[in-house]
Symmetry: C2
Subunit: 217 residues, 2 copies
């Protein structure tokens, strides 16, 4: 069955791979599943046809036969459950890899995502510096904990998993707009290991091609 | 095998059921699994023994035999996967219920949780009113989308699922500190349906008993 995902027609990150369709592309590349992409304008994202697929008017979505899914974490998990290579077979190791999926999205991503938003939306506010500093403190607490747990391992818990895939995408957003990650050399190396994966590169190139086509079209 | 979870020795919410162990208690009550609770002081949460279980020094954790898990979303999902009653059997319906788990925690909870934090930590800041208003706008956008999707159904997608359990706990945090939810009568009724479940009540009473014991001990 054909897999179709949705993505920004013109990504606000200008093709830097920070939009959430990147996670789905990367997961599909890791498991070797081809996919189609339907591009959406910001206007189309808020129209009834898309809201039926994605109640909050966001990208990405995932369609495969009768199944329609939203939420990048749920979609990556679904891909990992259906195809080999993104979750361990052993039950306890699998449950721990799933815990890292949630940790990436619920514990590490929020202050990193907020920092990006504040940099865009609150730059001219009188409190800008103070807000930014508070968020950076929160980010550093998370990174210190994550760095200690990772230690000198390649991945968070044994082999590369969907948890690592999501954690790397979360940390890449930070790397794109700050030098904070440089203070945690094992996390920088962890992110670089993710980016070096052939599946990551194929996914990155595919989303960049969309942005370039939109810019020159 | 005995299940042991961790919870606050003295919950900052004063037993109102807003701490994240409530989610685990509720899920375990829904599937009829008994559990033990190990209570932790704020100091113990940051010590090495607990950081081995929970790298970010938070509660709850979940231990069962050789398995140790963290992240309330991952723990609720684990319980739902192992025991009947919290996820549909049919594959597509199951995947959609999992999407609601992620939607509750990644899309609906962040502005609601931030609003609670701002009310505690930023009340005296010059930007307090403006920050609160911005967060309430974000919350209302999410609630409007959620309300439209729920319509006049009892639960988000067919029978009560782990997705509903988490969404209700997220909305309860809002209800505890604001009247915003009153503007969405179908969501208020949805939350009330959650609170009326016998498993919810048993879980609520159990966490309240911990707080009362700590207060009078």
């Amino acid at each position: 069955m054909t897999i179709t995902i949705t993505a920004f027609e013109r990504s606000p990150d200008r093709g830097r791979g920070l939009a959430r369709d990147m996670r789905i592309r990367w997961a599909l590349e890791e498991v070797g599943q081809p996919y189609d992409v339907r591009l959406l304008s910001f206007k189309a994202m808020k129209e009834a046809a898309h809201l039926t697929l994605q109640p909050f008017g966001q990208i990405p979505t995932y369609e495969e036969g009768d199944l329609a899914l939203f939420e990048s974490g749920a979609i990556v998990f679904h891909i990992a459950e259906r195809h080999g290579g993104l979750l361990p077979d052993e039950a306890n190791a699998r449950a721990r890899a799933i815990a890292w999926i949630f940790a990436a999205l619920n514990t590490v991503e929020p202050p990193i995502f907020d920092r990006s938003l504040v940099q865009i939306l609150e730059r001219d506010e009188p409190w800008y510096e103070q807000r930014l500093r508070a968020l950076e403190d929160s980010i550093r607490k998370r990174l210190a904990d994550l760095s200690r747990r990772l230690g000198d391992a390649d991945w968070l818990d044994g082999a590369f998993s969907a948890g690592d895939l999501l954690m790397v995408t979360v940390l890449l957003r930070l790397k794109a707009s700050s030098r904070i990650l440089d203070d945690y050399p094992n996390l920088s190396a962890y992110v670089a290991r993710g980016e070096a994966r052939p599946a990551y590169k194929r996914a990155f190139d595919a989303q960049l091609a969309v942005f370039k086509a939109a810019s020159t079209g």
